[in-house]
């Protein structure tokens, strides 16, 4: 088939648009990991003793753990001593306003299309940008502060709101949780912190931008979002990284806590880390632990993710549904092209009565990509009348890729209703034929069909992100017309 050869050729020519490297002096720790390094990070960040102790406990626990291998992904063993665990752009003091931020950095963001000034002026999106591991500038802070919303970098939160951080850090993902979460707990450098007080509806989308810049660094950020009774927040996360030949590790932890009644957290990710080149060299290992906990009655947590980047994506944004009537949602589009691998899905743990969860997962595989959905729906004994609906569909473009589904359903309560359905298919020739007959090119037809395939998920994204996600999808699949 000539289209197949075409596909591969075109894939090889695809470029990573965000693959520039910013030349800034970085203030880094030496390579390697030991208690000294952790003390160094903690000292650099001027942390209180309890946090250092917590990090050290996590590190000691991590030493006793084995790297998990059960995921359906293949990669070379990671040398944890060959990673720089702290790399911060050098600067004199904390920037007071955008004018003080290193212009090189601002330029980087401009290239990424998230110019801070522009955003502040036009978009009304508050961005907390994390460059390597340190938060650079946070916009709209004052405006949010008026409402009592705290939105700042994690390091600032440790300094300014230690009680809140201490109360909630590790309450959803304890430092003993899993190998990568323990590693993160020991060495995390920065991230975002967000607190929405009682009854406040956050008037704008909060957003962080993560970018791995320095070579040989791992990015270990930590995000903590707490929503009190009756509050609402929509949080966006975007990620990119420059092109490098070696693989870089990204092991983040995200904790969402819907504390009060009717609290609602919406967390959206567009992940576009460098996926490696057409031969599968380089790229980010994206091993992330994301979990939310619905404590309050009627509380709600939704995860929406569009995963187009990373050499390997290995993550399961989960929800613990503890409060009565609480709702968990997971909407995901995962694209693997070239030699990318993704093992992603969700866990919905139903503890409370009348809890509901919805899972919609769309996997798209092209080139040599391997895409796995792995999910757990766990209905515990006390979860009377729990309800789950799961749908995971896979689309295959090309005959060298793979799509896999591993759904686990564990039911301990007979009043629960659980439905799961999955399908795998390729784009129908009749569908393409129909579009072409209406005057569309094959490429446009595929784009349109793929977008239609993902529509249920895109619909959940905030407007700005939905547009970006559609474009990203188009770029990721450029040329992979099957």
């Amino acid at each position: 088939m000539s289209t197949a050869t075409n596909t591969i050729e075109q894939l090889a020519n695809r470029e990573y648009k965000w693959g520039f490297i910013t030349d800034i002096d970085a203030d880094s720790a030496p390579k390697g990991l030991n208690e000294e390094i952790i003390r160094f990070i903690s000292l650099k960040k001027n942390e209180p003793d309890w946090l250092l102790e917590w990090r050290l406990r996590a590190y000691r626990h991590w030493l006793t753990m084995k790297e998990p291998r059960w995921a359906n992904v293949k990669y070379h063993t990671i040398d944890y001593q060959d990673i720089i665990y702290y790399s911060a752009p050098k600067r004199k003091a904390r920037p007071k306003s955008l004018a003080e931020v290193d212009p090189e950095l601002l330029k980087t963001y401009e290239k990424l299309g998230i110019s801070l000034q522009e955003q502040e002026r036009l978009a009304g999106v508050a961005v907390d940008a994390v460059f390597d591991s340190v938060s650079v500038a946070t916009t709209f802070k004052e405006k949010l502060a008026e409402l009592g919303i705290i939105f700042c970098s994690f390091s600032e939160a440790v300094q300014d709101h230690p009680d809140l951080v201490r109360k909630y850090l590790g309450s959803v993902v304890p430092y003993t949780d899993n190998f990568f979460a323990s590693l993160n707990s020991a060495v995390f450098t920065d991230g975002s912190f967000c607190y929405i007080p009682k009854g406040v509806r956050c008037p704008m989308e909060l957003s962080t931008y993560f970018r791995i810049n320095a070579a040989n660094t791992g990015q270990f950020e930590r995000t903590l979002i707490v929503a009190e009774e009756g509050s609402y927040v929509s949080y966006l996360e975007g990620c990119t990284a420059p092109m490098r030949d070696e693989n870089q590790l990204h092991a983040a932890v995200v904790e969402l806590i819907a504390v009060g009644e009717n609290a609602h957290i919406k967390y959206s990710t567009v992940q576009n880390w460098y996926p490696g080149d057409a031969e599968g060299r380089g790229g980010i290992y994206n091993f992330v632990t994301k979990r939310g906990k619905c404590i309050g009655r009627n509380s709600r947590i939704s995860w929406t993710q569009v995963e187009t980047g990373s050499a390997i994506t290995w993550k399961y944004p989960s929800v613990i549904l503890q409060g009565e009537n609480s709702v968990g949602e997971f909407y995901s589009v995962a694209v693997t092209n070239n030699h990318q691998q993704a093992d992603t899905g969700t866990k919905m743990i139903h503890l409370g009565k009348n809890t509901r969860s919805t899972i919609v997962s769309k996997g798209i595989s092209a080139g040599f990509g391997q895409n796995s959905y792995r999910g757990l729906v766990d209905i515990k004994k006390g979860a009377a009348n729990a309800r789950n609906f799961s749908q995971c569909d896979s689309l295959l473009l090309g005959d060298k890729c793979g799509a896999h589904t591993f759904p686990y359903i564990e039911v301990r309560n007979n009043t629960a209703r659980v439905e799961h359905e999955a399908s795998t298919s390729k784009i129908g020739e009749d569908q393409i034929f129909y579009c072409k007959q209406r005057g569309l090119s094959t490429e446009d037809a595929v784009n349109m069909i793929v977008n239609g395939f993902c529509k249920e998920v895109f619909r959940e994204l905030p407007m700005e992100f939905a547009v970006e996600a559609q474009k990203l999808l188009g770029i990721s699949l450029e040329g992979s017309v099957g």
Binding site: L397, P407, Y408, V411, T424, S425
Partner: protein, 442 residues
């Protein structure tokens, strides 16, 4: 017998005793296989729940009990009248008692030319070359403890061979009866060879005359030649204290059609594995399964459909009805290999939970490496529909009757797919009994 070393030592000692009783046969080619299998078993040991394949099925009670095969000379004599109840009148019957073939109880009628239906022990004397070529060549003894254990201890079982182009009109029924002897290891080994365009219906029944803590560990290998048409039915109705582990390994050549129907309702811990591999194009495979569990039963069904060739089609329907404190497990794997284009695979798994304490763990699984395929799976877990119950009650049925009728309809969907008529009838009455039993226990 808690540790793996103790377990290995036990089965080694049992094996040594068996070897002595074999006399001259200990030199045969098959015995070499046995020895190898025993060593493999000792290396692997029994699987634990840390093994992903056994995550939900804890077999510790089985692993820690010292089982031993029933010596041929000590098998209890059973009157034909006691067996009649279990037989399928229209079928050729091979009856095994505690794992040993019973000529007196079996009835094998006239066979078309070339058809062989006999015990495996007899076949190993009369058709040694054929067995040498096919026996223990297909089931995965290398990576599986229970297949290895079966190979190490199996002395008998059923052998059916249908030559090319022959159709056997009557079903062949293999009845494995247990006397409920405590700590008996019953390791039947079955081999079914069906030639090109051959047709046959095979029925395996597992039942017990008395309750007892015995362990049936069976392996069946089924080879479907090109264009063969086969129905394989299995009724697992072991006694309530027993353990049942089975592996059915099916290899399908081009254009062959295999239907497997499994009804699992007995045993305290029961696990059935059915694997089918498409070795040729345009094969069709249908797997139907029904689990009925009550009390504290654990019934686990694992299926694997390996689409190794293009243009093959598979349909799977597995249902479970769980009552009391029963625990159901289902894992259905579908693999679509790289070149298996135009594969059409459909899997459905439905569970009905009748009581507050029943538990289900289900894991449908698709692994697809080809692009031009149509694969779907669906899984549901729920209870009886309130509207349907209401409707039936509005028609004058009481609550119990309404529930029974709906539960029966749910289960009968699978039973009605069985083509062996008297087996189907028997199942209908067994299901009614089981529903009744579930009610008493809950």
């Amino acid at each position: 017998m808690k540790s793996i070393t103790e377990q290995a030592a036990w089965y080694q000692s049992v094996f040594d005793a068996l070897e002595k009783s074999l006399n001259g046969e200990a030199q045969s080619g098959f015995h070499v296989l046995r020895k190898k299998a025993l060593n493999r078993f000792k290396e692997m040991g029994f699987p634990t729940t840390r093994n992903e394949e056994w995550k939900f099925t804890n077999i510790t009670p089985l692993a820690t009990t010292p089982f031993t095969p029933v010596p041929a000379g000590t098998v209890a004599r059973i009157a034909p009248s006691a067996v009649k109840h279990y037989l399928i009148p229209e079928a050729h019957s091979l009856v095994f008692v505690d794992g040993h073939f019973s000529r007196d109880l079996s009835t094998i009628g006239e066979m078309p030319d070339g058809v062989i239906v006999c015990s495996l022990a007899e076949a190993s004397r009369r058709h040694a070359a054929l067995l040498e070529r096919e026996l223990a060549r297909h089931a995965p003894g290398e990576e599986n403890s229970f297949v290895a254990l079966n190979t190490a201890f199996s002395l008998d079982g059923a052998f059916v061979s249908i030559p090319d182009g022959v159709r056997l009109t009557e079903p062949v029924h293999m009845l494995f009866l247990s006397t409920g002897k405590p700590q008996a290891l019953i390791p039947p080994r079955n081999l079914f060879l069906v030639g090109a365009e051959g047709q046959v219906s095979l029925v395996e029944t597992y039942a017990a005359l008395n309750d007892g803590v015995y362990f049936t560990n069976v392996v069946s290998e089924l080879l479907a030649g090109e264009g063969a048409l086969i129905e394989h039915d299995k009724l697992q109705n072991e006694s309530r204290s027993s353990y049942h582990i089975s592996w059915t390994h099916i290899v399908q050549q081009a254009r062959s059609t295999v239907t497997s129907n499994l009804v699992a309702m007995g045993g305290s811990i029961a696990r059935s594995n059915i694997t089918t591999v498409f070795e040729g194009e345009k094969g069709l495979c249908t797997l139907n399964g029904l689990t009925l569990a009550a009390g504290t039963q654990l019934i686990d069904n694992h299926t694997t459909i390996d689409h190794a060739s293009p243009h093959c089609e598979s349909h799977e329907l597995y249902k479970a009805v769980l009552d009391g404190k029963a625990h159901g497990v289902f894992n259905g794997k579908i693999f679509v290999r790289k070149d298996a284009q135009k594969t059409d695979a459909k899997q459905t798994n439905q569970t009905l939970l009748l009581s507050d304490d029943a538990v289900i763990d289900t894991k449908p699984q698709l692994e697809i490496f080809a692009d031009d395929v149509k694969c779907t799976h669906g899984a549901t877990v729920g209870q009886l529909d309130a509207d349907q119950i209401f409707y039936l009650r509005s028609r004058g049925l009481n609550l119990l009757q309404a529930k029974d009728m709906l539960t029966f309809a749910f289960a009968a969907d699978v039973v009605h797919r069985i083509h062996v008529e008297s087996l189907r009838e028997r199942l209908v009455s067994l299901i009614h009994d089981k529903l009744h039993e579930g009610r008493i226990s809950s």
